[in-house]
Amino acid sequence: MRSLGSVKIISLSSTLLLTACLSEKLSAPPTQSIAPEIQRRLAGSRYTGAVAVRSVIQSDKGSKQFLGESPNLAHAAHITVDAINGPRFDLTSGLNFIRPPKGGIYTLNATPYIDYKLTFYCYQGGELIGLIKDVEVTSIEQVSEGGGGHLGSHTGLKPVGDNNPSFGVTDGAGEFVSRYTSGPVSGDERSDVSYVVRDPTSPCIGEAGVKTYYNATRWEGLVRLQSTSTLALCCLTSNHSDIFYVRPDVAAAAQLAGDLFVQQVPGSPALNVSAASLIYGGVEDVYNNWSPPHFEHRIATDLDLVGPTTRHKMLMRIKNAGERAHFPDCQPESAGTSNAHTHCRYHLYK
């Protein structure tokens, strides 16, 4: 009777939001638990400082046992971080792209993606038997794990990314290749990979199961605006508790705009920020429904600014302060309403 081995999925997991991926190739032996090591090395990696996407290590739940698996079998998988076609570091953006989002990282409604591959190995009694060449992936289900600053109840399910293909069989090299395309909403997700081993030469033949790995959609490196004597955070117009995250350079420009605004007119009160971005960017659904009206405010380069009045002259005065603070464009919005404000954008979308 053939003893059943266990299957480990070696996957390349990655981080998302405008995509990115781990670029390091790790070569620890498959039986070692190296997930913590990977986390440590990546935590202090090149992604500090400039806006960058951090990779989230894949890890399996650890609680799932495989049929025939020895109880003392190490579950931590050997993780190879191999991007298809190799990672490419974008010197301009500071982001590590596998491929850049279509149209560039500042393209509105960009749907960044990452190509990855799943590779299956058979273990028996804790020992690596080898690569499994014929595995059927019956489904890859993407599930929301929350996060992203979306607090409170929302209407409908949180949009998640898409794996395409989400089913199929491994290729001649024993790899299942797919493409993950992120949705517009930031936050954490998991991928539940259902598989069946078909390889007749593998001791793991017939084994079926579900492996889970975790990923995230986020724009990292953001900082929270701070209230000062010239720049205040107020007038929250969103159902989220904190929408005051921006890129560090945008934070500096915002403070400068506040300083200039106050100096424009003697005795002026502070300039107010009523909206920036969520902690990890993405759609800022002010109505808790995962949808616009905010088409912008997704990559932490947009600010809604409010003065002591909502009259047009005040909106134009804010525009003047913002553009003199090096925001390329500022325009009145919601004019004629109690929510009138001036929207300043640090980057101009294509």
């Binding site: 509105l108 400068l256 705009a257 300083d259 200039l260 100096q263 424009q264 007119v265 003697p266 616009p292 009206p293 088409f295 912008e296 009259r311 047009h312 002259k313 005040m314 134009m316 005065r317 003047n320 302060a321 553009e323 003199r324 603070a325 090096h326 390329p328 464009d329 325009q331 009145p332 919005e333 919601s334 004019a335 004629g336 954008r345 101009l348 979308y349």
Partner: protein, 338 residues
């Protein structure tokens, strides 16, 4: 912003008016419709957008120096040529010197932007406060007292401790552009500094760079060459607009002692020493404006400025002349091309 805006500004006490020295009164910045328009707008995606550069501004400025307050005032008059198709509702001035106060005509506003990291300068504007609903959306109403084609308006002024220098001007007209709804995706349109009539005028300037120590005359000691330095012109080849601005700084780094009171200047052989006025220590020490005109030494084309400063060296010795002189010759051109 209300009519009182213009009266809120710090006013120079009238009893000091007699100490004002009018440095300069002349038409300076001549923008024309042939100059610096918005350019190619074929890629504009803004629904209902119209350019705001259809004005024909002529900005003249009077710069005056108060010898008691050691401050400068800049009084602007803005004319809109008869060929303009829009009324002027905004004048942006970019300059580097801090300002103390600003004044604007009734119904106009003045916003001062200090040099703290952004684009410093001043903005004079006359915007309406309400909107008119149109088929394309809300259109801001115009201000009540714009500068119509064929008209001019004065009463725009700023005061500063800093002497004059060239200031970039951006003049815009009222174009009745509808505002975009919040649900509108981002659009492409020119920046306001592009969508304007651009020109030059004068504004408070903090000179920060030393361009040259001037010429080393054969009769001067080498060490005296640094007594006087020039902050906006080189010894040869600089082209200035009219009026020509010359900014100088006395040596304060070598340990020697230039005697500022000994400073003399000749422009094309004419003594122009009295046209130099002081500035704060963190900028130019002396700045002069030379305008064109009958009886004035500045000419279009090549001009020669000779300066003289004497001083005391930091160390004395038997072989050191007690009063060395720094003589400099600056040859510059004046161009009146718009």
């Amino acid at each position: 912003m209300t009519r009182q805006m213009h009266a809120q500004r710090l006013s120079i006490p009238t009893q000091l008016a007699r100490h004002w020295i009018a440095l300069f009164a002349s038409i300076f910045c001549c923008s024309s419709l042939a100059l610096a328009q918005v350019g190619d707008t074929s890629n504009v995606t803004y629904p209902g957008w119209k350019s705001s550069d259809k004005v024909n501004p002529l900005i003249s400025v009077v710069v005056a120096y108060d010898s008691v307050l050691h401050a400068y005032s800049y009084g602007y008059t803005v004319a809109n040529g008869g060929s303009a198709a829009q009324s002027i509702d905004q004048i942006d001035l970019d300059f580097t010197g801090p300002t103390m106060a600003g004044l604007a005509p009734a119904t106009w506003d003045v916003w001062l932007s200090q040099p703290i990291g952004g684009r410093a300068g001043a903005t004079f504007s006359s915007f309406g406060d309400d909107y008119t609903t149109t088929a394309q959306g809300l259109v801001p109403n115009p201000g009540t007292d714009l500068i119509l084609p064929g008209e001019s308006k004065s009463g725009y002024s700023i005061s500063s401790l800093y002497p004059p220098g060239y200031s970039r001007s951006y003049t815009r007209g009222y174009a009745a552009v509808p505002l975009l709804p919040d649900s509108s995706p981002p659009v492409i349109k020119p920046r306001d500094t592009t969508d304007s009539q651009r020109g030059w005028t004068l504004g408070p300037t903090r000179y920060t760079r030393i361009i040259t120590e001037g010429t080393q005359e054969p009769t001067d000691l080498a060490r005296t060459n640094r007594f006087l330095k020039f902050m906006n012109v080189d010894t040869l080849g600089t082209v200035l607009r009219a009026p020509a601005v010359i900014a100088v700084k006395f040596d304060n780094t070598s340990g020697d002692f230039p005697i500022r009171a000994s400073f003399r200047a000749l422009l094309n052989g004419v003594d122009v020493t009295s046209l130099f006025h002081p500035g704060p220590a963190d900028g130019a020490d002396l700045v002069a404006l030379f305008e064109l005109g009958a009886g004035k030494p500045l000419v279009v084309g090549t001009n020669t400025l000779k300066t003289y400063v004497t001083g005391l060296p930091s160390t004395f010795g038997p072989n050191i002349i007690p009063s060395p002189v720094d003589t400099d010759t600056i040859i510059f051109s004046v161009d009146v091309t718009p």
